[in-house]
Every structure is written in structure tokens, then in C-alpha cells.
């Protein structure tokens, strides 16, 4: 029991008290929740792996996105993390391929180009079918530093390198936006 609570407490968003509540909740629903959860965790631990092409997490390698023949091979969208890729997939706005870097260059934490999945991206971008690489790294100093670094590395690949637009989000009110976003939005203004 203590081991179960200890392990649950390691999950994001759970402390020792909430882990105890979750453990109790699971134990009271042994057949309907605890056993299926244990089976699902076991299956996930056995089968989910990192895609050798893009870095996504999936039960097969290459992953579902890389293996999908209906996707556009000429576009590669570069993201920092698997969560960013899933966010773009939820939008259903992008039908190309992805590449997960596994983080961003960090000024202080010692994350350098060799720690990221950049060489594989350069190799993929060099293939004849790829025409554009979209850099969808986070709009932070580290994220944009990473984007500029990748753009330099891709210069010799002969592909178009683009980045996501920055500015006012859908449903955003100007009064509530920070000055940084407003300045970016003004710089990226377009004719209406």
C-alpha cells in the first residue's frame, strides 16, 4: 500500500495526500478501474517506444504519423516535445510529417546541439522529397535560439525554412496581452 502511494505521489500534480486518495479510490474499484489500469500500464510499458524517424511515442516504429501514406512528405514540422506534436495534431491543421527535438538549447543548463535530435533532422531535410521545414519551437528565448540554430544548419539542405507566426491568439483581447506579444503582433501585421 505504501509503495503504491509512494509511486502515485511521483506523478505530476499529485502529492502524498492526493496520492493516498487516489490509491484508496483505485483499491475500492478493484475490478472496474485498478485491474484495467494495471493492464493498460503494463501494455504501455511493454509496447510504447520512441519512433526512430521522428521521435514521437507510439506502439509501433515507425509511428502512426510517419507510416501514414496520406501525409505530405514535403513538409516537416519541427517541435520541441511530443506534447507539442500532439497539440498540433489536435488542431488537425497540419498534414505533413513531424520531427521531435527532445528539448531546446539552453544557455545555462548545458543542453547543447548534440543533446537534441538535430542530426537526424538535417538528414531528413536533405532528402529530395522534402521542400519545407516549419520550425514550431516555443516562442521563448531558448526556443527561438534553437530555431535560429536549426535554420543555420538547414541552410545547406536547400529547403525553405519557415516559422510559426507570433501574435494575438484567437479570442485574445489586446488589453490583456503582454507587451512582448503586442510588439510581435505589430511587427507581423498584414494587409486586411
Amino acid at each position: 500500500m505504501e509503495r503504491l502511494i509512494g509511486l502515485l505521489a511521483k506523478l505530476p500534480g499529485l502529492g502524498p495526500r492526493s496520492a493516498r486518495r487516489a490509491a484508496l479510490y483505485l483499491l475500492k474499484r478493484n475490478d472496474s478501474l485498478l485491474k484495467p489500469l494495471a493492464r493498460a500500464l503494463s501494455v504501455a510499458a511493454e509496447n510504447i517506444r520512441t519512433c526512430s524517424v521522428c521521435g514521437n511515442l507510439d506502439a509501433r516504429d515507425p509511428c502512426g504519423v510517419c507510416a501514414d501514406p496520406r501525409r505530405d512528405d514535403s513538409l516537416i514540422c519541427v517541435v520541441e516535445d511530443v506534447a507539442d506534436m500532439w497539440a498540433l495534431e489536435r488542431s488537425a491543421a497540419f498534414r505533413g510529417r513531424y520531427h521531435v527535438l527532445g528539448g531546446a538549447l539552453s544557455a545555462l543548463d548545458g543542453v547543447g546541439p548534440d543533446d537534441l535530435n538535430i542530426p537526424a533532422l538535417v538528414a531528413r531535410a536533405g532528402r529530395a522529397e522534402v521542400s519545407e521545414v516549419i520550425l514550431a519551437t516555443n516562442v521563448t528565448v531558448d526556443g527561438q535560439t534553437t530555431a535560429h540554430y536549426i535554420a543555420d544548419r538547414l541552410a545547406e539542405c536547400g529547403v525553405t525554412v519557415s516559422g510559426l507566426a507570433h501574435g494575438v491568439p484567437v479570442g485574445g483581447e489586446l488589453d490583456y496581452l503582454d507587451e512582448g506579444t503586442l510588439s510581435q503582433a505589430l511587427k507581423a501585421r498584414r494587409p486586411v
Partner: protein, 241 residues
């Protein structure tokens, strides 16, 4: 105890689920870290970008505690420089250098003012030379100032072209000629204001300051020059061709 001060964000590291440990270069309290609750949330993430100026309120039960910050944005410098690779590299290098060289909780008002001026200058075109001059100022503030007033060998004040890697003192062209392979080049813009500074001179300046930063500041503690500064030098070298 608590205080309010203006500061420049040097770094923000995620702490736990929602908080961030933020390091600021403050006007009166020097490099000072603190916890920002909700610091990785949507509202705060944009504010806590390196280079941004914030109005910070620090509060803790005891002065030696980490304490908690509440930060309000004063000026979003990071957003201004984000689209320019070289300027962004300069911003990252300057913030990393301040965070890794200055002792915490020790007032360095001159460094605060000079960092603020440097970040403002980065919006212009001649900032690489300003960056080198700022690093020379940093060395002075850290107690390892270069002596570029006169030649260490002959005492002459004209035709200074080298710096001795042993003493950090300037050496004239004539006195340095036999040892020029061992001496560090001294770019002219460190001696007198120049209208335009070539990329090669900026790189010489970075080599000079980098040598003394490495030798006097980082090596004694087993540290290394921050990767951000190395990337700035690489980027400038590529730009210079």
C-alpha cells in the same frame, strides 16, 4: 522581510508543477533568485524571459530563505530581439555571463546599469563592439580589469596592439613584435571610440575577454564559459566569414 526592486530576468527554471525559480539582476540587490508561483503558467511565461525588465517584489520569512517573487513586466526586451539570431545570441550570452560570474545577493549597481544599456543598444547595429566593451567592464567589476593605459614593457601610450595573457596589460607594437605569437591582439576600439568596428576586431575583443574570463573567473571554480557565449562567438565568426 520584503523589498521591491527593478531587475532584469537572467533565467527561469521550472520548479515543481507550476512554479519557477527565477534569477534576476536587480538594481540594488544584485543577482537574486526567488520562487515565482505560477511562473510556468501562460500569464507569467512571457514575462519571465531572459532580458526582460521587471518590477519585482521579494518576500521571505528570513533573509537567507529563497523567498518568493511577484513580478510585473516593465519592458519586454526579449520580444524585440527574438527575430534576430545574432542579437538573441548576444542577449543569451550577456544574461548567462552575469548569472554565472557574479556572486548572489551582492549589489552591483554598475553591472545592472551597464547590462540595461547593453540590452537597449542591441536594438541598434553597432552592439557587438558594445558587447565586448561590456565584458571588459564585467572583468573590471569582478576584480580582473585589464590595464590598457600604457605599454607594460616600455611605458609608451601610443601604438598599443597586444595584451599580455599573463598580466592583462597592454603591449606596444614594437615591444610585442618578438612575442606576437604568444600575445593577445588588442582591438583599437577598446582604446578609443571608433565610428565603425569591423567584425574581425569584435572577434579579437571577444577572444581577449574570453581568455581572461576563462582563466580568472571560470577555471578557478572548475567552471566553463557558458555555452550561450560560445554560440555567440561562433555566430559572429560565421557572420564575419
Amino acid at each position: 522581510m520584503d523589498w521591491t526592486d527593478q531587475g532584469i530576468v537572467l533565467s527561469a527554471r521550472k520548479h515543481g508543477e507550476t512554479s519557477a525559480i527565477v534569477s534576476l539582476m536587480t538594481q540594488e540587490h544584485g543577482v537574486h533568485a526567488g520562487l515565482v508561483r505560477g511562473g510556468v503558467g501562460k500569464r507569467s511565461r512571457g514575462i519571465l524571459q531572459p532580458g526582460n525588465t521587471v518590477q519585482a517584489h521579494w518576500r521571505a520569512r528570513l533573509p537567507e530563505h529563497l523567498g518568493a517573487y511577484t513580478c510585473e513586466l516593465v519592458y519586454a526586451q526579449a520580444a524585440v530581439l527574438m527575430d534576430h539570431p545574432l542579437r538573441l545570441a548576444g542577449l543569451s550570452a550577456a544574461c548567462a555571463l552575469v548569472e554565472t560570474t557574479l556572486p548572489e545577493r551582492e549589489s552591483h549597481a554598475r553591472v545592472y546599469e551597464s547590462l540595461l544599456s547593453l540590452l537597449a543598444a542591441m536594438a541598434g547595429d553597432h552592439w557587438p563592439a558594445d558587447y565586448v566593451l561590456w565584458e571588459v567592464e564585467m572583468l573590471r567589476e569582478l576584480g580582473f580589469g585589464l590595464d590598457l593605459g600604457c605599454c607594460a614593457a616600455t611605458g609608451e601610450t601610443e601604438n598599443l596592439a597586444y595584451v599580455s595573457p599573463k598580466t592583462g596589460r597592454a603591449v606596444s607594437v614594437a615591444a610585442g613584435e618578438p612575442y606576437k605569437g604568444k600575445l593577445l591582439p588588442l582591438p583599437g576600439f577598446l582604446l578609443a571610440e571608433m565610428e565603425s568596428v569591423e567584425d574581425g576586431q569584435v572577434l579579437d575583443g571577444l577572444k581577449l575577454t574570453g581568455y581572461f574570463l576563462e582563466r580568472h573567473v571560470y577555471a578557478p571554480h572548475g567552471g566553463e564559459i557558458p555555452p550561450a557565449r560560445r554560440r555567440l562567438v561562433e555566430r559572429l565568426s560565421r557572420a564575419a566569414g
